[in-house]
């Protein structure tokens, strides 16, 4: 212990000696005139709005958080794959079906890569898609309500990581499998992985009007791990690029065994060609079982449907549709520049960045320069497709985004920094440290033809000493850099919800004007809605009781109910009659084995209560709604199971 301390002191003192001088001109410094300037750049005055929305995934939280840039202020955590007691998501009867899967109700997932819908290669701000890794799912969030409105399970997939990236006109949201598996699933020895396990790349079509998702086809690829992906754009629109690792097809100790090949691949998929093949009757319909969950805004209710088949395509059946581009050392990020010409392979165990050329790829294909094949899929020569190499920019390249001005920005996990470099000349222009162990980064509009190259957000896995400590678990963080100048400038650290795994962003003006304020009561088609106090009632059907209840400032209708018995299953269907912006009501009752409800104006939500004890039990409004919020309460009388207490209800008068 003493020795460690001594050495720690030695290290620290040496480092202090190295750093204590000449710091004044460094960006991100904590003192001096510059600090004031930096503060101004992120200061959004009270009442003012941020310039950009940032949608930052929560990783293991399963959610998607909405922040403003440049302030880093958190506005909302949108529940997606995990239950959220605050919003009743996954707890109320209406949204429970959203979390249905072929494995039953799955209340958690690992949310990773949000991507905003596009029109003509430009972010349109209609929807944001995000993948659940663990039990493969793709979710769609409607950016008029900021609610998850659709989740589709992805069959034949496992560790849905190479997802959920959209094509230039949101024709598809694409989901590649990280883990290869037997397709179809079967009982077989793990050691027989090689050659027998397969990787599915799923092309999920998106209805241009409603955004409804449907798996158009799955490309059944060799049993590699498919890590990340990005669409072609501009000239390369119609292609999709997937990074792969574990081309060794190892099933154990991948940290060693998946790092044996000098090069893995970026798979280039001509989806337009496969789409044409499929539209002409190509592919095989195979039995499957996967959930498709759709939330209907008019009924305020989700419905889960099990789908029973999926169309699969063998790449060997569509010659010329898939090529493999050798790429050094387990590439992670697979990023396409705004022009669509350059495909960057971020080889995470490499010290170099590999950049492929789409034009050279097409030429190599035209000239039939094929180096070999993997399970019948042609492999091109590395040199034939290589546009350039960024030499030794850092250690552990992970993800690259673009500013639309000819510059690229890459994160380096091991050396913990963001490096700016020039497309075409491949020269490093600037580097800034990240605190610490940066993963992905985001420039608003980065995955499109038109990035908004003003800020880059770097998302860190580790913060150690950067914030006030909170025990062994400390916050993860994002860092905001100004990239408007030649050199990057660190402006802000801000803590995040869960793991800030990946993000998408866009100008606030794209979304702000369309943000819904209330749900219109007249459009409410919930089967148990009570659209006025006159419509409220209590209906018994055996031991099931439905309460049609309303809320308005500051009472429930009805607020006295008698005739409920121990053993009943009581459904509270609450309609919020308010038609005023930002006046939700909440409700719960003592002993309810579920969350509160948080009901937006014009909305109906339902929770179930199964009273176990005789008595008179209060319920109340859980969202501070008004000056008389504390008066917003009611009672339910629960009688013994065999009692004859009549079913009655009232508001403003006694039950006689």
């Amino acid at each position: 212990m003493k020795n460690i301390l001594k050495s720690a002191v030695a290290i620290l003192s040496i480092l202090v000696a190295f750093t204590s001088c000449n710091n004044s001109s460094k960006s991100g410094g904590k003192s001096g005139a510059l600090a004031g300037n930096v503060a101004e750049k992120v200061y959004v005055a009270p009442g003012e709005h941020d310039e950009f929305y940032a949608f930052i995934s929560g990783g293991f939280s399963g959610q998607l958080s909405v922040y403003g840039l440049p302030s880093g202020r958190l506005f909302k955590v949108i529940p997606v794959f995990s239950q959220d007691a605050e919003k009743a998501y996954g707890y109320n009867e209406e949204t429970k079906p959203m979390l249905n899967t072929s494995h039953g109700f799955v209340p958690w997932d690992d949310s990773h890569h949000p991507d905003i819908s596009q029109t003509n290669g430009v972010i349109d701000g209609r929807w944001v898609f995000i993948n659940g890794n663990n039990t493969p799912r793709i979710a769609k969030i409607d950016l008029s309500t900021f609610e998850t409105t659709e989740i589709i399970e992805v069959p034949n997939s496992a560790g849905n990581h190479s997802s959920s990236f959209v094509t230039e006109n949101t024709e598809y949201v694409v989901a590649g499998t990280r883990f290869s598996i037997p397709i179809p699933q079967k009982d077989m020895p793990i050691k027989d992985y090689k050659g027998n396990f397969k990787g599915a790349l799923s092309f999920i079509s998106v209805d241009p009007e409603h955004g409804h998702m449907d798996i158009k086809f799955q490309l059944i690829m060799p049993g590699f791990d498919y890590d990340l992906a990005h669409p072609g754009r501009g000239a390369s629109h119609g292609w999709f690029f997937f990074s792969t690792y574990n081309s060794e097809e190892a099933s154990t100790l991948l940290e060693v065994n998946a790092s044996q090949n000098d090069k893995d691949f970026i798979a280039a998929v001509n989806w337009k060609k496969i789409e044409e093949y499929v539209n002409n009757g190509g592919g095989t319909m195979m039995p499957a079982n996967y959930a498709h969950n759709v939330y209907d805004e008019s009924t305020h209710t989700a419905k889960s449907t099990m789908k029973k088949e999926v169309l699969v395509v063998n790449p060997a059946d569509v010659p010329g549709a898939v090529y493999l581009l050798p790429t050094p050392k387990s590439p992670h990020g697979c990023d396409v520049d705004p022009s669509g010409e350059y495909i960057v392979g971020n080889g995470k165990l490499s010290a170099n960045l590999t950049v492929h050329s789409f034009t050279k790829m097409l030429n190599a294909i035209a000239d039939k320069k094929i180096a070999g094949d993997a399970y019948g899929i042609p492999i091109l020569n590395f040199e034939d497709v290589l546009a350039g190499v960024v030499e030794q920019p850092g250690l552990g390249p992970l993800h690259t985004e673009f500013d639309g001005k000819g510059n690229a920005y890459t994160t380096f996990f091991i050396s913990s920094e963001v490096v700016k470099w020039k497309l075409g000349t491949w020269e490093v222009v600037d580097r800034q440290p990240c605190y610490y162990s940066v993963g992905h980064l985001m420039i608003p509009g980065g995955n499109s033809q038109k990035p908004f190259g003003k800020y880059v957000v770097a998302m860190n896995k580790i913060t150690k000493d950067r914030y006030l400590p909170t025990g062994p678990e400390v916050t993860q963080s994002a860092q905001l850099y100004d990239i408007s100048g030649e050199k990057m400038e660190l402006l802000l650290d801000f803590p995040t919800v869960g793991e800030p795994h990946y993000a998408a962003g866009c100008p606030a003006d794209l979304i702000k004007p369309r943000s819904k304020k209330i749900f219109k009561l007249e459009d409410n088609n919930h089967p148990y809605a009570a659209k006025s106090e006159a419509d409220t009632k209590v209906v018994r059907d055996g031991n099931v009781v439905h309460i049609y209840m309303t809320t308005i400032r500051s009472h429930f209708a009805p607020d006295n109910i008698e005739g409920i018995k121990v053993g009943d299953k009581v459904y509270f269907h609450i309609t919020n009659l308010e038609q005023d912006y930002d006046v939700p009501h909440g409700v719960s009752i003592i002993g309810a084995n579920t969350s509160e409800l948080l009901i937006m104006p014009g909305q109906t939500e339902t929770f179930v209560w199964e009273p176990k004890q005789v008595g008179v039990w209060p319920f109340y409004c859980t969202d501070f709604c008004s000056a008389l919020h504390q008066e917003m309460q009611g009672y339910v009388r629960v009688s013994p199971a065999n009692s004859n207490t009549p079913l009655k209800w009232s508001l403003g008068e006694d039950i006689e």
Binding site: M1, K2, N3, I4, L5, K6, S7, A8, V9, A10, I11, L12, S13, I14, L15, V16, A17, F18, T19, S20, C21, N22, N23, S24, K26, L253, E255, V256, S259, Q260, D262, K329, L349, S350, A351, N352, Q392, P393, G394, L395, G396, F413, I414, S415, S416, E417, E427, V428, V429, D430, R431, Q432, P433, Y435, Y436, S437, K461, I462, K464, D465
Partner: protein, 191 residues
């Protein structure tokens, strides 16, 4: 309570060292030349006396790695050794450095040779946590400087680029193998 003394010592040192004049630090070479952030901040700064020592702390704590530590500091790659990793670090002993032709080390630690030195040091680092058992099963390792080092098995033990593993120490962020020879990167890319 024993911790108080070294912490105080640290603060005293820090204060003493912080008070130096700004000119004392020579301007660093172009930021594009080094892989480590040019600023001397980062995880190497964090005071943590609770966790298992990381690769850098092990080297600093060892009486046999004074040259290596000096080299790491001269190349300013401290932060690369304290990262979450996992890392496998081959740590040549002072004796191994002494076996290099006379004047080599002195030459390498000169500021103008910082990039060369950093390249050599990174050739001693493998991403991954590789025990001797695992090393015995591999033919080569891809090193952090983007080159490969070959592994031979001699007398049943893995020999890394001609260097024998004398001892292995588990680190908080990987493993340190003490080796009896400095690994020199091949002049041409082996792949």
């Amino acid at each position: 309570m024993k911790t108080i003394k070294p912490i105080c010592l640290f603060f005293i040192l820090a204060v003493v060292l912080c008070s130096c004049k700004n000119e004392t630090k020579e301007t660093q070479t172009s930021t594009t030349e080094t892989n480590a952030p040019s600023e001397k901040t980062g995880q190497a700064f964090i005071q943590d006396d609770e966790g298992t020592p990381n690769c850098l702390q092990i080297a600093l704590n060892s009486p046999d790695h004074k040259t290596l530590v000096a080299a790491v500091q001269a190349a300013q790659v401290e932060n690369a050794l304290v990262n979450v990793g996992p890392l496998t670090v081959f740590a040549p002993t002072d004796e191994a450095f002494a076996a290099l032709p006379e004047g080599t080390v002195e030459d390498l630690v000169k500021p103008e040779n910082k990039a060369t030195l950093a390249n050599i040091l990174k050739y001693h680092v493998t991403p991954g946590n590789l025990s001797t058992t695992i090393l015995s099963k591999l033919k080569k390792l891809g090193q952090a400087n983007n080159q490969y080092v070959q592994i031979e098995i001699i007398d049943g033990k893995p020999v890394i680029g001609g260097a024998n593993i004398i001892a292995s120490v588990k680190a908080g962020n990987g493993i340190v193998h003490v080796v009896d020879k400095v690994l020199l990167p091949p002049s041409e890319e082996s792949n």
